[in-house]
Amino acid sequence: MTVAGFDEEITVIPRWRRIGGHMLQSRAACVGATILLILFVLALFAPWIAPYDPFKIDPIHRLAAPSAAHWIGTDEVGRDLASRIIYGTRYFLLICLVTAAISSSIGTLLGLLAGAGSPLVDGVIMRFIDILLAFPYILMVLVVVAVAGPSLWTGMVAVGIAGIPGYARLVRSTVLTVRQEDYVTVARALGASRREILFGTILPNVLSPLIVYLAFATPLSALIASALSFVGLGAQPPAPEWGAMLVNSRTYLFSAWWAVAAPGLALCISIFGMNILGNGLRDVLDPRNA
C-alpha cells in the first residue's frame, strides 16, 4: 500500500510503545524518570534503607558535620539528616499525589461541565473560576489555611484547591476547541449521542494536554506545599517534611549549612526530575512540539 506519495508501508505502533520509545530517546526524560523511580524506592523501603530512626534525638551529636556515621550530618537536636531526608520522600510523594488528585479530578470535572454543558452551566462555573483566579495562587492557599488552621493536611488540601482553576480552564478551552473539530461534527452527523461524543470523542483528545499539564502543575504544587511548611503553615516539625525541616535549621545557617542545604537540595532535585520528565512528556504528547 502506498501512502502520500511514499512507497513505504505504514506500520501501526501501539500508543504506549510509541510514547515510551520517544521518551527513551530523550536523555533528559530518562534522568527525570530515574529520579522519580528512586524517590518511590526510597519511600517504599525507607525503614530498611535509612540508617537511623528519623525522630531519634541525640543531643551529644547535634549539628555534626557529614561523616561516615552520619552521611550528611545531623540537625540541631542530633537527628540523622540522611534518614530524615529518606523518610521525607514519603511526605513529598504524598503531597504530590494528594494535591494532584484534588486539583485534577475536580478541575477536569468542572472543565468538562463548563465546556460541554449549557451556556448557563458554563457561565456559572466560569464566573466561579474567575473569582478563584483573581487570587494569586498562594493567596488562595493562605485563605484556606487561614480558615482550617495550619497542618499538613490542610496545607495539601489548600494547594489542591488552589490548583483547580488551572485544570478547569485548560479542560474547558480544549473541549471548546475539540468541539469545533470536523471529526466531532462527523460523529454528531453519524448520530452519536451527547454522552458518546463527550466521553468517546472529546475526552481522549483532552487527555494529552491534561497529562502534560499534570506533569508541570504537580511539582509546582509540591513547591508551594513545602513553602507553606517552611513558613509554619503546613506540615509541622518534627515531621521530616523537607520544607518543615528548614524551619528550625535555618537559624543554624552559619554553623551547620548542611542542615539547610540537604533538605533544600532534596526538594530541588526531586522537583527538577519531575520537571524534566514533564518536558519529555510534552515533547512526545504535544504534536506542536514534534
Binding site: 464566573r127 474567575d130 473569582i131 483573581a134 487570587f135 494569586p136 495562587y137 498562594i138 493567596l139 493562605l142 485563605v143 484556606v144 489555611v145 487561614a146 480558615v147 482550617a148 488552621g149 495550619p150 511539582p219 513547591l223 508551594i224 513545602s226 513553602a227 517552611f230 513558613v231 509554619g232 503553615l233 520544607g243 528548614l246 535555618r250 545557617l253 552559619f254 549549612w257 539547610v260 542545604a261 533544600g264 526538594l267 530541588c268 532535585i269 522537583i271 527538577f272 519531575m274 520537571n275 524534566i276 518536558n279
Partner: protein, 310 residues
C-alpha cells in the same frame, strides 16, 4: 480605550464582592476567632469570659457571618478597612507602608526577572542547540525547580556567610538587593523558557523567511521582526507571573525579614487576625487584577490584531 478601561474597572466590583463573599463564608467556618486565639490559655474564669465576650462584641465577632459581611461592606464604603485585633491599630495604618514595601520588592524583582529572562531567552533561541542554549535551558529548569525559600537561604549563605559581601540583615538601600534577586532570578527562569520557545516559534514563521529573503541580517530579523511578535506571548506570561511574584514575596519577605504585606499575612493567619488577613487578601487581589488590566492594555498595544472589547 477609556471606555474599555472604565468597563474593566466596573467589572472589578463584582469580582471584589465575590472575593469578600467567599472569604466571609470561609470565616464562618473558622473554629476560633482572633480574640479567643489571643487570650487562649492566658486568662481563665468568669471575668475572662466576660472580657472576651466584650471584645467579640466590639469587633462584631458574635454576629452571624452575613451580618459581619454587611458591617464590613459599610465600613469599606467609608474607606475603613477595620481594626487589627492583635495590634490594636486600624488595618490601613498597619498595611500602608508594608504595601509600598511589597510593591517595591516585587517591582525590583520583576525588573530583574525581565532583564535576565528576556536576554537569556533571546540568546538561547538564537544559539539554539549550542552549548550556550543547553546551559541556559538546564539552569532554567533548575530555576523553576528551585523553592524560593531555599534559594533565598542559599543567597544568604553565599553572600553573607561565605563571601561576606552583604550583611545578614542589611539596612538601608542595600536591604532590597538579596530579596529582590532571590525573587527575580527564580521568576526569570520560566520567563526565559517562554521567551526562548516563542522566539523559536516566531523565527520559523513565513514572514521571517520572507524578511530574510529580502536581505535583513540575522540581528535585524531577531530584534526588529521576531522580538515584537514574541513579546506578545511573553506578556501573557508576565501577567500570570505577577501573581507568582506576589506569592513568592510572602516567602521571601519572611526569610529576609522584609517588612511587607507577605510577612504580615503569614503572621496574621497565625494570629487569626481576620480583619488584617482580609485586608491583605483584598489589597493583593486588587493589585493583581489591576496589574492584569495593565497587561491586557499593553497586549492590545503590542498586537494590532487584538481589539479591546470588554
Amino acid at each position: 480605550m477609556a471606555q474599555y478601561v472604565g468597563r474593566r474597572l466596573l467589572l472589578l466590583v463584582p469580582v471584589i464582592l465575590g472575593i469578600l463573599l467567599v472569604t466571609f463564608l470561609m470565616k464562618a467556618l473558622i473554629p476560633t476567632d482572633a480574640v479567643t486565639a489571643m487570650y487562649q490559655g492566658q486568662l481563665s474564669g468568669k471575668s475572662a469570659e466576660k472580657a472576651i465576650a466584650a471584645l467579640q462584641a466590639k469587633y462584631h465577632l458574635d454576629l452571624p457571618w452575613y451580618r459581619q459581611l454587611w458591617f464590613y461592606l459599610s465600613d469599606l464604603a467609608h474607606g475603613n478597612l477595620g481594626e487589627s485585633v492583635r495590634l490594636h491599630k486600624p488595618v490601613s495604618a498597619v498595611i500602608g507602608y508594608r504595601y509600598l514595601n511589597t510593591i517595591m520588592l516585587t517591582g525590583a524583582a520583576l525588573a530583574i526577572a525581565l532583564v535576565l529572562g528576556l536576554t537569556t531567552g533571546i540568546v538561547a533561541a538564537a544559539k539554539r542547540n549550542t552549548w550556550l542554549d543547553v546551559t541556559a535551558t538546564t539552569i532554567g529548569l533548575f530555576g523553576i525547580s528551585m523553592p524560593a525559600f531555599f534559594f533565598g537561604l542559599l543567597l544568604i549563605l553565599v553572600f553573607s556567610v561565605w563571601l561576606r559581601i552583604l550583611p545578614v540583615v542589611p539596612h538601608g538601600p542595600l536591604a532590597i538587593v538579596l530579596p529582590a534577586f532571590a525573587l527575580g532570578i527564580i521568576e526569570a527562569a520560566p520567563l526565559s523558557q517562554v521567551t526562548r520557545s516563542s522566539m523559536i516559534d516566531v523565527m520559523r514563521r513565513d514572514y521571517i523567511q520572507a524578511a530574510r529573503a529580502r536581505g535583513a541580517s540575522e540581528l535585524a530579523l531577531t530584534i526588529r521582526h521576531a522580538l515584537p511578535n514574541a513579546l506578545i506571548v511573553v506578556l501573557t506570561i508576565v501577567g500570570l507571573q505577577i501573581g507568582n511574584l506576589l506569592g513568592g514575596a510572602f516567602i521571601v519577605e519572611t526569610i529576609f525579614s522584609w517588612h511587607g504585606i507577605g510577612e504580615l499575612a503569614v503572621n496574621a493567619i497565625q494570629w487569626r487576625d481576620f480583619a488584617l488577613t482580609q485586608a491583605i487578601i483584598l489589597v493583593s487581589a486588587a493589585t493583581y487584577l489591576m496589574v492584569n488590566l495593565v497587561a491586557d492594555l499593553l497586549y492590545a498595544w503590542l498586537d494590532p490584531r487584538v481589539e479591546l472589547t470588554a
